[in-house]
Symmetry: D2
Subunit: 346 residues, 4 copies
């Protein structure tokens, strides 16, 4: 059994990790680290785990973690993961970081978009960014995985199959994304206050969201040239889910069925990605609680544009689920092991 711990266990990604790992057949869940709930039972913070996971939350102690764990998930706000991952990897523990600290190749970009100094330069080169269905990296000997961001996952899965196909203009991509409130985390803020966000909807961080450089970095790699995008996130009055509507100018006339075929082939082996039938609408409810991505293509021949719509659960495929998928790959388990959970949509 793989001994696994979670740093940041009581945040929304952390608790989702706990849920998935609890019944993972190859994992023994060891330490749950939570700054705010040291000494409290995990099931007192999340009573849904009562009778299932009643362990007590611990303070961060990387030495102890390293001793108890073969692999550690870090699910913290950006920043502290740099030092924690450095210590853990230095002590021979493998790490999957769910934050943004190891996603950007360019330290300059990191410091510009995240507004803080970068302090883990040496470790950064070891880190592997991996959406399994796209990058298909062999992680057996990798010690640090930079788990992709939620918005980037929804966008990259939608665009990967055509970025190098010379079908669409990769220089003018517009991404209009909508996320549930859990994406903003468990920290109290007026924008996440029930009466301020229920029956509401807004765009936020327009032209300035930190996932923009991550999206651009990966799209650029996929098409082999520098790509800039317009990325506009919005806040939905739902708990979970991201829907991205992506607009692409067609370079040439293209056949809808051929396009679909390109996507179907690209994801032929990908159990978690579903290309919907022609005209079928991706809906957030159909992926909530699961590691699935549903996507579909809409060709607007009248205006010469392709519209791709994708949906994921931001806490699963956009965070904890994909992190476990990466853990499975690191450890040689079946890629989808422990990830069969899903909701009915009701």
């Amino acid at each position: 059994m793989l001994r696994v711990s979670i740093v940041g266990a009581t945040g929304y990604s952390g608790v989702e990790l706990a849920k998935i790992l609890l019944y993972h057949p190859e994992v023994e869940l060891v330490d749950l680290v939570s700054k705010n709930y040291v000494g409290q039972k995990f099931s007192d913070v999340y009573p849904a785990f009562r009778g299932k996971l009643d362990v007590v939350c611990k303070e961060l102690d990387t030495d102890e973690l390293a001793q108890n764990s073969d692999l550690v998930f870090i699910a913290l706000p950006t920043g502290p993961a740099q030092a924690i991952a450095s210590e853990l990897v230095g002590n021979g523990v493998r790490v999957v970081d769910l934050g943004a600290d190891f996603r950007l190749d360019s330290i300059e970009d990191y410091e510009k978009w995240y507004g803080k100094e970068y302090e883990a330069e040496s470790l950064l080169e070891e880190a592997e960014y991996n959406i399994p269905e796209i990058h298909k990296k062999n992680l057996r000997n990798v010690n640090l995985v930079a788990n992709p961001g939620c918005y980037p996952t929804s966008v990259l899965l939608a665009l990967a199959p055509i970025m190098d196909k010379q079908i669409v203009d990769t220089t003018g991509i517009i991404i209009d994304s909508k996320s549930g409130v859990s994406g903003a985390g468990r920290g109290l803020a007026i924008g996440s206050h029930f009466c301020e966000q229920n029956e509401n909807f807004k765009a936020y961080k327009i032209a300035s969201h930190r996932h923009t450089p991550e999206i651009e970095q990966e799209l650029s790699k996929l098409c082999g040239q520098d790509v800039l995008v317009s990325f506009t996130p919005h806040l939905l009055p739902v708990k979970r889910g991201i829907l991205s509507t992506i607009y692409l100018d067609l370079i040439e006339k293209v056949d809808a069925e051929e396009l679909r075929q390109i996507y179907r082939e690209y994801y032929a082996e990908a159990e978690f990605v579903q290309i919907l039938d022609e005209g079928e609408l991706p809906e957030i409810k159909n992926v909530v609680g699961s590691n699935a991505c549903h996507l579909n293509l809409f060709l607007d021949e009248r205006v010469g544009r392709l519209i791709v719509v994708s949906v994921i659960d931001n806490l699963v495929k956009g965070a904890a689920g994909q992190a476990v998928q990466n853990m499975n790959i690191m450890c040689g388990f079946d890629e989808g092991l422990g990830l069969s959970g899903f909701g009915t949509g009701v």
Copy 2:
């Protein structure tokens, strides 16, 4: 592998059954019967099942069902299950009925509360009503289980431990229950229209809800005398969940800790029932998606009353989950097999 089919597979209880049975290790899911979607793929009706359960929905044909299935779940509105169950049981197929057709011992009560003639009198005697944590019936040789109603399950689990203890006045019980909209089913109705029910709340069927005689029948058996209750259901603007707040007059002064001990002992072996810690509040979100019941006791010594609060997921412990639990008992499987799914509350 047990060959299992569902009649009424595209209703809200039906789809929940499909979800649970899909990964049940001892079950092979065979026929999905749905009047409204004959010939359509189940995953077209519920795209969350895409890639998981793409079988085509069938018309009802009890002969074919009997041939293909060892056990059939019937998840239909009250009425038609009487004939269907009769045919299936007559053909040697075991049945779990999620509707109300075999729950009431008294045909008179059935006809009075449901307003239709009863037509399965001979089969009624064979039917066993079973909340496993309370009735603990041995179902190995039973061919027809009457799965308890959602409201009654939330009430009976809350009251069973004290009904025969001479602690509370069993003649003046008041039950104030609140349910999510899925309890009203998938049939279109103005009361389930989004704009009419979001940001809304109301009581309904006050003093006239059909679950009243079921609750009274079972409470009466538990305490050995005839019990009448006030039962008021309300409609919450949530998809799932039932919370029942139950008021009981104390016959004598009672110690809070003793009371808790009675409950803890009663449910000592019950993995799905959690007695919360003193002062801890049962919340719907903590049981949504799981077969759990959370409950707690609040002693109001100032007014001499005991308040019991319970929560369940109306579609799981209140329907499909408990039905599978009963199937497990009928077949000699572990009682909780296939029922470990749960949500985090987020």
Copy 3:
């Protein structure tokens, strides 16, 4: 024009007051006091007021307030209103307090339920508690009105007509109330965090809510004997609205139509109270945004009990609307002036 100010203008009751007073034909809205937003435009805090109320929020300065205002609404958490009201009334300014500081006659009760020392004893005797439809007090010479609490308003309007009629047992009243989240105010708390409260429902402060003594005090006055009640508040996943379901044991057999007639007569002159038709269900959506109270009676002859259901908007009839209604009475305006606003329910 009456010069009116609000202390606590950016809280949820405060902003509702601002909305009502903005178009009140006899009122000039003068100072908006808000501790947290001193120096900021009110319409920056609540952009819905943009172009309508762009004044800057002020720090509390009772001398300045007294100079600028004829009447001040205090909409603060319990406590500070005692000193503020004392200074204002002492300076000849009339006050409507929306908090709990002047509602309880008994200082002992205040100190027991609110857990703090009471410091405005001399002023307390001047304060008048007034639900206009019930107490019908002449407030022309009153300088301090204790505006009733939200839950008590929903309960007292439901029960006032029969408390002294010897029809129901006034010693065993059970009140099961459900409120929207705005009742918990704008202060950040995990219980009001969107992801913790959406799709959720729970009871809270069972047998211990501070509105209990207020309800009991007023019910006792209405029936002329000491009344104790069971009062259980619950938190609904909606912004606004309170529904109270109240259970009363009948002393004698009673005719439903006679009962309705008692209510109709009691509220014959009350424009804001609607007795619904027989069988019609009070729904929160029908009173949201208005000063109305809808209520109905349900006689359960089977068990000898009367069930009264009432709905109000906790921020309007339960706070700001009733406060303006009281202001109108204090000033000799038409009681309903400025209070014709309502929502359609959609």
Copy 4:
């Protein structure tokens, strides 16, 4: 007093009209026509109107309507308004049509996008399409106003000030709109069923929504050349509100403050349009219940694009409110008369 009637009074636009007109100081509300509720009290269908508007709904009788009314609002699904408006205008009654039957200049477009034959050709020329803040038409002698669609209103208000300024490329406009469920009307449909749409989000009618030609027609007029757009509507799990996020390629480098100045000047006299401060986010909650449009500009210099975000209440500025605004103009009343209602956002 202007005698006014509503055809389609119990639909969601109809009831909003009723609410606004009820307190309009120059209007006497006469007949409420509703096919589905003939003979029932309006306040039985919408109990929020209890004690305010208890009149009985009538069957459609254009002769009677013409006799009783000076002006009629038609709030029906597309189609029947053609005949009804023809009869009414023929009988000397003025009409505001809230549907799509008189919005498109081109009958060919109508028949292509709406899929039915057009039958009111002669009347079409008389019809005036009017967003008062943009078209500023003098309607004193106009007998038929085609009230703009909800999505088009949100888009045109956002774009009108720059369409002819040679600042943005008017040939590549992308419009990503999100609407509350009330936009789909009161007709029962699985997509508006509470359990199917709560906690959900989806795009729909991608590249095929019927408001597309209306948007293109008006944008073309504004810039003096043929404009095609990508228009993608989405369905939000809220009752009301539309937010449109609009992407425009800049033709040349432009100064943010100059841009804002263009908008401020364009709307200098427009009381219902608010240009927010730099960086301030339009939010649906801030316009719900009001006739306001909030909009803001976001210049993304990095990618050379302008993003305009607008919000309206689809039932008010997107339907009933704008219709009353047009009525006011037709009748020489103050343009904003009766339209001061708004919500606080809570």
